[in-house]
């Protein structure tokens, strides 16, 4: 309730400030899941945006010195899928007359914006969705988050270099899972590793005892996993230690399962889990320290994660584009303004690829360790400025 009141108040205050003749308004429609099974994503966007506006103000100075009030109109897609997201987007464009759409925690939501963005000529900033092909679906799309092939690929070689010769692959039965499976297998086998077996668990599955049993029987050097963030990912990591895989010496390798927001669900047994991800929350960059401090001002228990950093960086780019173009430029110009921009993100340096409008960023390989009595991800390798490999593998044939 409080968060909404504050956004609402911010919007009203912004209106109040717009008394002078030289103030413009730039409305951004934010679509994310605030309720339902995916309800952890919406608040991440929300808090990061609030934190950003608390730090950098709710307005930007345009190219002619005019004040541009940046207002958000938020809609909850309520975990009801892309059809709801599409409906909300149409409403935002027709009723609220937004100048830009942002957010999109899940890939289907972002994909549903493709036709709309082209018809209405509205730029779309994708702050979390990770399916690689998305940015190809509309020239109005720009992504500030990550793609799955991008952060999965580097781990293959690292594992082989570090003595892991065989792996069992267990992913969830949905598109992101297939992406992870494909790119892990590609990179692992290219480096000389051998895949012992692979399996896919149903997307809602929360009981991994049977899957883990099979892995125990096959005795690979490592188990590679990719599960939806939340109960499935937590339960698989737990099953690894609780059902004896850790004791049997099988390493657990994944991506986002040990993000800081989830670490409190585990006991010390989670130490040793290896992941590759584009954001290690514990990093000591000044941008990250500032980001975390700003988040703490919004809520003292606020923890940063991939969606919050995706939104934070999205805001940076939006403010940069507004400063360059003002509030009244045609939609496509904002996307063009973001192309090729390089910024220092809390996660490290990032750049928007001018050809694909997708993100280029560092990928970090980390281990979970106990530092100062707290479980945390510790970087063991940084792979710099990784481009999305899917786009390289699937070049556009014009």
């Amino acid at each position: 309730m409080k968060r909404f009141a504050s956004v609402l108040a911010a919007a009203l205050a912004a209106f109040g400030m717009a008394g002078s003749a030289s103030a413009d308004t730039f409305k951004i429609g934010l679509i994310a899941d605030y309720t339902g099974v995916f309800s952890t994503w919406g608040p991440q966007f929300q808090h990061a945006i609030e934190a950003f506006q608390m730090t950098h103000g709710k307005s930007v100075k345009g190219p002619k010195g005019e004040t541009i009030d940046v207002q958000f109109v938020t809609r909850d897609s309520a975990s009801q899928g892309p059809d709801k997201a599409k409906q909300l987007a149409e409403e935002l464009i027709l009723r609220e007359k937004v100048n830009m759409l942002a957010g999109f925690d899940l890939s289907p939501h972002a994909m549903a914006m493709a036709d709309l963005s082209k018809q209405a000529k509205v730029p779309v900033v994708i702050m979390n969705a990770a399916t690689a092909s998305i940015t190809r679906m509309s020239p109005y799309f720009v992504r500030t988050s990550m793609t799955i092939p991008q952060y999965v690929q580097p781990i293959g070689k690292w594992l082989v270099d570090n003595g892991v010769k065989t792996a069992y692959v267990l992913v969830s039965d949905y598109a992101p899972g297939y992406d992870a499976e494909e790119y892990f297998i590609k990179s692992f086998t290219a480096a000389g590793g051998k895949i012992v077996d692979k399996a896919r668990s149903p997307i809602n599955n929360v009981d991994f005892s049977s899957y883990v049993e099979k892995v125990l029987q096959d005795k690979p050097d490592a188990l590679y996993m990719f599960m939806p963030a939340g109960t499935p990912s937590i339960n698989l990591v737990k099953a690894w230690s609780e059902r004896g895989l850790k004791a049997a010496g099988i390493k657990l390798v994944g991506t986002g399962e040990t993000q800081q927001i989830f670490l409190k669900n585990f006991t010390d047994d989670v130490q040793g889990v290896i992941t590759s991800m584009h954001y290690t929350e514990s990093n000591k960059r000044p941008e990250n320290i500032a980001f975390k401090a700003a988040l703490k001002k919004v809520g003292p228990n606020e923890e940063p994660d991939i969606a919050s950093v995706g939104a934070w960086d999205g805001m940076q780019l939006i403010y940069m584009a507004l400063a360059q173009l003002g509030a009244k430029a045609p939609g496509i110009e904002y996307i063009n303004a973001m192309k090729g921009k390089k910024i220092e993100s809390p996660r490290g340096p990032i750049m928007i690829d001018p050809e694909t409008r997708d993100i280029i960023e560092n990928v970090y390989i980390r281990k979970v360790e106990k530092v100062n009595g707290e479980l945390t991800n510790v970087d063991v390798l940084t792979v710099p400025m990784v481009k999305d490999p899917w786009k390289e593998d699937h070049p556009l044939t014009n």
């Binding site: 909404f4 309720t35 919406g42 059809d83 149409e90 289907p108 549903a112």
Partner: protein, 321 residues
């Protein structure tokens, strides 16, 4: 003044349609909201036929809504974008599915039937999820390009064509429902709901009547699904969710069962309340809807229509009793 309110019953009947037509001209950016409300009205009306009149307590009606939506969507993507042909084909197909499932499960009652209807819905939903290449899975059905209606009127994000198309389809089904409910067949359903045993005793083919209404209702729900697919030019898995099935039941009881217009009021009120409260605070609407449900069940047996009856009572002439 009292006279004017009672005599031209036709005036009251015409009211919702007048509002619907007027809305088209005055809605502005809210037009698509109106289309959504009408789609849900049609869906709720279909549920009223089976649940309200025939007494078949089902939680799986979204199976037909969803089947209709996907049938129309897939037909558009794979066969032709003709919106009229698509509507007819999808509606008929859904009716067939309704018929087949009906003959399988309508001999059971109560919770057993409830579970079976849920099982059918779940199986359909799982299938839609798995059959990626056909339905798009959880990404939704991509690439629906509807041909313009009569070669002239485009289906696009502005929603003018969708609104009128939905309004006409709703009106046609409304006429059908009205006829059915006020026919001897409809009366027999009333009897079946109250006591199947007695109806059998007087020779009514109960089971066949149930199958008949179930099939009709399925086709109707399927039409609603088609409209949903056309309005959004997209189909997602939510059309086959338990949630959708639940919401339509909520709308029905909110408005009032066995009142035909109950479906209108229930769907409109629910949709508008949910839309409004969700904007205020996404967490609030679950409380509001939950509370509303409890209040309606405990205190307003006839739903909101009964409230309207209460208000209209002072204007009724004594002949109406």
């Amino acid at each position: 003044m009292g006279e004017l309110l009672v005599r031209p019953r036709l005036l009251w009947h015409a009211l919702p349609w007048v509002i619907a037509v007027a809305f088209y001209f005055f809605a502005g950016g809210y037009l698509s909201l109106g289309t959504q409300v009408m789609i849900w009205i049609l869906f709720t009306l279909s549920l009223d036929l089976v649940l309200g009149y025939a007494g078949i307590v089902t939680l799986g009606h979204a199976a037909f809504f969803g089947f209709g939506a996907y049938a129309a969507g897939i037909f558009c993507v794979r066969v032709t974008g003709d919106p009229l042909l698509g509507m007819v084909v999808a509606t008929l197909l859904t009716g067939v599915v309704g018929f087949l499932t009906g003959i399988l499960i309508l001999h059971t009652t109560g919770v057993t039937f409830l579970m079976l209807s849920l099982a059918i819905l779940s199986m359909l939903a799982e299938f839609a999820n798995k059959a990626n290449s056909l339905t798009g899975g959880d990404n939704g059905l991509q690439g629906m390009e509807l041909s313009p209606l009569f070669g002239q009127f485009e289906f696009n994000m502005f929603g003018y064509t969708a609104y009128v198309y939905t309004l006409v389809v709703l009106f046609l089904w409304f006429l059908v429902s009205w006829r059915v409910v006020h026919s001897p067949f409809g009366r027999s359903l009333d009897g079946i709901r109250q006591s199947p045993r007695r109806m059998r005793a007087i020779g009514t083919p109960v089971w066949w009547r149930l199958v008949a209404i179930y099939t009709l209702s399925a086709a109707m729900a399927g039409s609603a699904g088609v409209l949903s697919a056309y309005a959004a030019r997209f189909v997602g898995l939510s059309v086959l969710s338990l949630f959708t099935s639940g919401i339509v039941a909520v709308m029905l009881i909110l408005g009032g069962v066995r009142r035909i217009y109950g479906a209108f009021i229930g769907a409109a009120v629910y949709y508008l309340v949910q839309d409004y409260t969700a904007k205020l605070n996404p967490y609030l609407w679950e409380f509001v809807i939950g509370g509303l449900l409890i209040v309606v069940v405990l205190f307003l047996e006839g739903g909101l229509m009964s409230l309207i009856d209460l208000m209209a009572r002072p204007f009724r002439r004594s002949t109406k009793a």
